[in-house]
């Protein structure tokens, strides 16, 4: 077991790669009641075209299957795992994103028992035709719930606008139609492809003894047999650099309009330190441009184009990335126009002062300290970083190293009219 210390943050991280290929990380947090553990596979909604182990032909699976599998993994022959966790005083959950499926529990007692339950249930699939059919009703309601949610429709509408081929444009839960094709055999095929320990990461954070926990995980894994795992082969079609669609307007049952401006990223194939620097530079850029202390924010707010739902964000994973900015507004067209102009103006060199950059870096460092108060944040983000070959604990030193040049270059690379797109939700007439 390796021990990595972060002096400035006063944290220690323990790491071991087990024989099966599983990466295990333990971060002891003294004084906390809660232990939080996530068991995550690098498998999300975008992984819909791949080569199953031992097969020679690529398969295309129905939209929403990674999320469906997440739901179904909780059900076992003798009942569902939620019951087991709550008997042990824990609460369990799971989520599926574009690139990951995470299973988790949090508890303030019986940590070892809960950890055993977590690892075992994820590593023991049980799917039957009957339970698969039953789940279609539940997930159908989940999909319908999101269909009525204007913010979700806006968010996905924007992503659909950006991408022509990339499966990130597919709604994570799929559609009622697409999930109707899911069978238990397909679930097993996905499971066997993506749930090998070498494609997974276990993170435990809380008031725990790292030696004891690592021994437990090692013992648990040594009882199970896993074949050597070959590299997972995924297929993704080429993606043009420009946005697939410039604008979309959705009419919904709302009183206030919503508008998001999106920019498709041009740096989709990064990973590791390069990706970390680019991602942080763009986060700093967006904060300088649209944070509450910016001129742009004051202008937008004073003109009544935005309210306190206004937000901005940059997302990047291997293979795709995008920025988005916007919120509720009384004038979606004028907001879209103003935001795009502000973005284009920001591309010009020399618009950002050193003082503003320094202030924004300070702000980001403080925000990071606040974030690492949260065990959930540490576990979830550490995993995301690791899957992209980055290290969460490099954030502060990397932020400190960012220069005006870095921000200007990031702006130059990202901001381009052909990569802009707009999505709006407006009241039905």
């Amino acid at each position: 077991m390796e021990k990595i210390t972060f002096d400035q943050l006063q944290e220690e991280l323990y790491y071991e790669k087990l024989e099966s290929g599983l990466d295990v990380y333990i971060l002891p947090k003294k004084g906390f009641n809660k232990t939080y553990a996530t068991f995550t596979t690098k498998y999300g909604s975008i992984d819909n075209h791949f080569l199953p182990p031992g097969k020679e032909e690529y398969v295309n699976v129905p939209d929403g299957i990674a999320h469906f599998l997440e739901h179904k993994l909780f059900e076992k022959e003798d009942g569902d795992v939620f019951q087991q966790f709550s008997k042990q005083g824990a609460s369990a959950n799971a989520f599926t994103s574009f690139t990951r499926t995470a299973y988790l529990f949090s508890s303030t007692s019986n940590v070892e028992m809960n950890l055993e339950t977590l690892i075992d249930f994820v590593q023991d699939p049980y799917f039957t035709e009957k339970t698969v059919e039953k789940e279609k009703g539940i997930i159908g309601q989940e999909i319908t719930m999101y269909d009525d949610n204007p913010d979700w429709r806006l968010y996905f509408g924007l992503i659909e606008n950006m991408f022509k081929n990339h499966p990130v444009k597919i709604d994570i839960a799929g559609t009622i139609e697409s999930i109707s094709h899911i069978t238990k055999d397909m679930l097993y095929e996905c499971y066997e492809t993506f749930y090998h320990p070498s494609n997974m990461l276990l993170f435990i954070v809380g008031p725990v003894d790292p030696d004891q926990i690592m021994t437990q995980v090692r013992d648990n894994q040594s009882k199970k047999d896993y074949n050597e795992m070959a590299e997972i082969k995924r297929q993704v079609e080429g993606e043009p650099s420009e946005a697939a669609k410039k604008k979309k307007v959705l009419e919904m049952n709302v009183q206030t309009s919503k508008c998001l401006v999106g920019i498709k990223s041009s740096t989709a194939n990064q990973s590791g330190k390069e990706m970390l620097k680019n991602e942080l530079s763009l986060n700093v850029l967006l904060d300088i441009l649209f944070g509450k202390s910016s001129e742009q924010y004051s202008t937008l707010y004073s003109e009544g184009l935005i309210d306190d739902t206004f937000s901005f964000d940059y997302t990047q994973e291997q293979g795709f990335g995008f920025a988005m900015v916007g919120g509720d507004t009384n004038d979606p067209d004028r907001l879209a126009e103003t935001l795009q102009k502000m973005l284009l103006d920001a591309r010009e060199k020399g618009t950002i002062s050193q003082e503003t950059l320094d202030r924004t870096k300070k702000k980001k460092i403080g925000a990071f300290l606040r974030a690492v108060n949260s065990p959930e944040y540490i576990a979830n983000q550490f995993t995301r970083y690791a899957f992209n070959e980055m290290d969460l604990f490099d954030v502060v030193p990397t932020l400190e190293s960012i220069t005006l040049d870095d921000v200007e270059n990031a702006a130059g690379n990202l901001i381009s009219e052909e990569r802009f797109t707009v999505c709006q939700v407006v009241p039905k007439k």
Binding site: S86, T144, K292, S293, S302, K363, G366, L369, R370
Partner: protein
């Protein structure tokens, strides 16, 4: 060791609560202002903290004020409003990095106190009125905030249930106030109300983090001084029961129906039955092992979400679920059956033990966050009771099956609200 060690000290016009803990990399100040929930003040109170946080006399624009916060390593300033029983509570919080994790030794805690004092006591005021521009901008945002409840159907149906259920009670008021009252607010009127609230509200300051009690006390004593007061108390929540169940059906253009059911529990925080009520709610619908989840979702596959939650100070329990429009009757009847089962004591020792364990877990997790600590402790201010977290957990442990069933029998169905799509019933 106590789960939370809170030291409370009476200051000039308010109480200072210090919770010293080394858990966090930040220090948090939470300022609470509480007054009875009333139609005549609800909109003013909703607007006030947003105006206070948008500028001050030393930082006369939002840009300047926020730039100063960025400079303080991104200290956050956050305002919020809540209904707690028949009270309307304003929260203003400042969270700031603990400088021991920074290479820069600036004394940030003191700056956070100074900043909070600036926001609270040196507003951007000229000649007896708040800055007009600021007020106008915030009025516009407040209207949008009130209106936005309509666009999120989950929040909307929850709000509509409470509105129908508590028709003649203050609790029916929207936490953000009434849209029609916003336009009538002038910068003068708001300033008058600010003075009134500062003079009469019940005030509490919580300080959470790796701080010395003596430092917190000296900063607070030096920077925050208000007149003594005896805060107004709201009339006790009525435990009224309706003669018949109120059924409300509303049609809108939605795909998923929203079923929201309101019950009167006739038990509030601090009552002897309160602990049994918590366990009852947990077995009934509070968790993913609860009766509602198992029967509505897992067995009948009718819903993705179905849960019950308590409003502890008002004595309400609300069930909420998203269902297909055509499944209304089936869902309502399953929910009713589960409540009957609870009343008949039709639940196992194991369900009870499991629920107690999960509630205890939830409470302990809540106090792992600074905001959670304040929420748990503030129950005592709202109720005027002194219940420690340890007492809460110990009392819950003692709850018996009989007590749970007896408490379930006090729960009465009040209102069934259904937001349904236009295709319903065809």
């Amino acid at each position: 060791m106590a789960v939370i060690s809170e030291s409370v000290k009476a200051m000039n016009g308010y109480k200072l609560h210090v919770v010293k803990t080394e858990k966090y990399k930040t220090n948090t100040l939470v300022w609470k202002m509480k007054a009875p929930l009333e139609k005549s003040t609800v909109t003013l109170r909703s607007l006030l903290p947003h105006v206070l946080q948008s500028s001050s006399s030393s930082y006369p624009s939002t840009g300047k004020l926020r730039a100063y916060l960025d400079e303080l390593y991104g200290a956050t300033l956050f305002v919020d409003l809540a209904k707690k029983g028949e009270y309307h509570v304003i929260t203003i919080s400042v969270e700031i990095a603990n400088e021991k994790f920074l290479s820069d030794p600036t004394p940030l805690l003191k700056k956070a106190f100074q900043f909070l004092a600036e926001i609270l006591t040196k507003p951007n005021v000229h000649e007896g009125a708040f800055d007009e521009d600021t007020v106008e901008k915030e009025k516009r945002t407040l209207k949008q905030r009130i209106q936005s409840v309509y666009d999120d159907k989950m929040r909307y149906s929850n709000f509509r249930l409470v509105q129908e259920m508590c028709k003649d009670e203050p609790y029916a008021l929207h936490v953000h106030g009434e849209k029609d009252d916003v336009d009538n607010i002038t910068p003068q009127r708001l300033y008058e109300y600010y003075q009134q609230a500062m003079a009469q509200d019940e005030l509490d300051l919580y300080v959470i983090g790796d701080v010395e009690e003596a430092d917190a006390e000296s900063y607070a004593g030096e920077l925050l001084t208000f007149e003594k007061r005896s805060p107004q108390t709201a009339p006790a929540s009525s435990g009224r029961t309706k003669e018949s169940v109120n059924e409300v059906r509303e049609e809108q253009d939605v795909k998923q129906g929203k079923l929201n059911i309101g019950y009167r529990t006739n038990v509030v925080y601090g009552d002897p039955e309160y602990y049994a009520l918590q366990v009852f709610n947990g077995i009934f619908g509070g968790f993913s092992h609860s009766k509602l989840f198992l029967n509505v979702r897992e067995k009948a596959s009718l819903a993705y979400y179905v849960a019950s939650r308590l409003e502890s100070h008002k004595g309400l329990m609300m069930v909420m679920s998203g269902i297909d429009n055509s499944n209304y009757d089936q869902a309502v009847s399953i929910i009713k059956e589960q409540l009957e089962a609870m009343k008949n004591g039709d639940f196992t020792e194991q369900e009870m033990e499991q629920t107690k364990a999960v509630i205890k877990n939830q409470l302990l997790e809540t106090v792992d966050t600074a905001r959670g600590i304040v929420e748990v402790l503030y129950h005592n201010v709202v109720s005027g009771k002194e219940i420690t977290l340890q007492t809460w957990m110990d009392e819950m442990d003692k709850v018996t099956k009989e007590e749970i069933a007896a408490t379930a029998k006090k729960v009465s169905l009040d209102t069934v609200y259904f937001l349904t799509g236009k295709e319903a019933g065809k």
